[in-house]
């Protein structure tokens, strides 16, 4: 059970980070001026969002190694933590499609003037994103992004399907070994509720901090 908690946390942290990264890249692709990138981004989202996350987990666990050269496949299949790795990859590709969608609408919400201002101060394309657009995208997208991340956290439970030893899987093990399924499920549920609560409160604090940030900026502007 303790290992379960550990694995769940590993899954949570790694997928949160990686899906944020991947999602940002896809989001930028989707608002890009280059047609091919835009088409690719759209294709990615259309494919990954319309197929269940569970499918991607199963896919990366069962099918993906088969697609590789045999030597590598055997290595992967014998690697003890391959279920966890497959879980991370599967959850990431699924979650990233949502993240990119949220960030894209965050990007569309930024007034045109922001970019123009950035251009006119001589910022390059990458700098525009890093200094001007991305911070605003994340700020605007924070509430839905938070909800998404809690969702992603809950989705880590799906990894039991590919025998990643996270907490839900541990619950099932306890049940089949000791037949004390209800107790184990109760403990696991409690764990999920608590951690989700912690996540929500972190997100709320983050929102508050960022809001103070914004108001203090506008305040100093009016003062000066």
């Amino acid at each position: 059970m303790i290992t379960g908690v550990k694995i769940t946390l590993i899954l949570l942290v790694s997928t949160t980070i990686s899906s944020l990264l991947l999602g940002t890249v896809i989001a930028i692709m989707r608002v890009s001026r280059i047609k091919v990138l835009r088409a690719f981004g759209t294709l990615y989202v259309e494919i990954f969002r319309n197929i269940p996350g569970l499918f991607w987990l199963l896919f990366f666990y069962f099918v993906f190694p088969d697609l590789l050269p045999p030597g590598l496949a055997i290595k992967l299949n014998t690697y003890t933590y391959y279920p966890v790795v497959a879980g991370i990859v599967g959850l990431t590709v699924d979650n990233a499609s949502y993240v990119s969608d949220i960030l894209r609408s965050g990007r569309l919400a930024i007034p045109h003037g922001q970019r123009e201002a950035a251009i006119s101060t001589g910022l390059g394309r990458v700098q525009q994103y890093i200094h001007v657009l991305l911070p605003q995208m994340f700020r605007a997208a924070l509430p839905p992004l938070g909800t998404r991340m809690v969702h992603n956290f809950k989705n880590t439970s799906l990894c039991m399907a590919i025998t990643a030893p996270e907490i839900t899987w541990a619950t099932q093990q306890i049940e089949s070994l000791t037949f004390r399924g209800i107790e184990a499920t109760a403990v696991a549920t409690l764990f999920y509720i608590l951690l989700a609560g912690v996540m929500v409160s972190i997100i709320i604090t983050l929102e508050k901090v960022l809001k103070i940030d914004i108001s203090s900026i506008s305040h100093s502007e009016t003062a000066s």
Partner: protein, 265 residues
């Protein structure tokens, strides 16, 4: 020939052993999603509406239910009902119904949040205007608030339905013979057909979800002639602190404002 052979059991994926035996495959996913949507809609609207009640003894249980369900993974909820329903109904609950009930309980909490956000997004002045023309609270809700709220909620509802449909795949865990389960079983019994199995799963879910989200976009375009924009200009944000706050929850709930609606622009 080889390809045809790969897909020889396409029927399994689509509707299981239906004419002879039980319904399964994609059809079962659709049936489960449909039942869950129907039941949870009713439940969700009631829950969402009572959550807005001023009376604490109505409001608190609703909040507790919604928050608990929303912070528990679907898989856990499925387990709970899998364990508990037999206690309640004496052991002869099929996995199918156990799955439908859990999906329903799960969906209701999310729909309640959508309903609440929708109602709150209607400017408070609308309710006041209706009340001050002497309409009763029920009439005001029925003719003034809900029609407006419904339009606000519709996109979130449909994108939630898409995600609920995808979530029906999770029910394989308790052995419902739906598309995912079929795919897994086939791929394990006939490892040579593993690609066909996974391809059928992917295509099956994709087609249904894609169709649904496309329909949703069309619906939004048709219905959205005078939706939010017509409410915004006279929304009294300064007077009602609730409005901006709600909007945030609203976005949080639907989390993905219609996946690609502005692509076409």
């Amino acid at each position: 020939m080889d390809l045809l052979d790969q897909f020889s059991n396409i029927n399994f994926y689509l509707f299981g052993t239906f004419p002879k035996g039980e319904v399964g495959g994609l059809l079962l996913n659709i049936i489960m999603a449909f039942l869950a949507i129907c039941f949870s809609c009713v439940f969700g609207i009631m829950l969402g509406y009572s959550r807005l009640s001023c009376r604490l003894y109505i409001k608190l249980p609703c909040i507790a239910y919604i928050e608990l369900v929303r912070s528990t993974p679907l898989i856990m909820i499925i387990f709970w009902f899998y364990f508990f329903l037999p206690y309640l109904f004496g052991g002869n609950v099929t996995v199918f119904w156990s799955a439908v009930v859990s999906l329903c309980a799960y969906a209701a909490a999310y729909q309640a949040e959508i309903v609440r956000a929708g109602i709150m997004a209607v400017p408070k002045g609308q309710l006041e205007a209706a009340l001050s023309t002497g309409m009763s609270r029920y009439n005001a809700m029925r003719y003034v608030i809900l029609p407006q709220a419904f339009k606000i909620m519709l996109p979130s509802f449909v994108s939630f339905f898409v995600s609920l449909f995808k979530d029906t795949s999770v029910t394989y865990i308790i052995g419902v013979m739906e598309l995912t389960q079929t795919g897994i079983i086939v791929s394990q019994r006939q490892p040579d057909k593993i690609y066909a199995a996974y391809l059928s799963m992917a295509i099956g879910f994709w087609v249904v979800c894609f169709t649904m989200s496309h329909l949703a976009r069309r619906l939004e375009k048709r219905i959205g002639v005078f939706d939010l924009e017509s409410i915004r200009p006279d929304a009294c944000r300064d007077e009602f602190m609730l409005v901006p706050k709600t909007k945030k929850t609203g976005e949080g709930v639907d989390e993905t404002p219609s996946c690609c609606s502005s692509d076409s622009k």
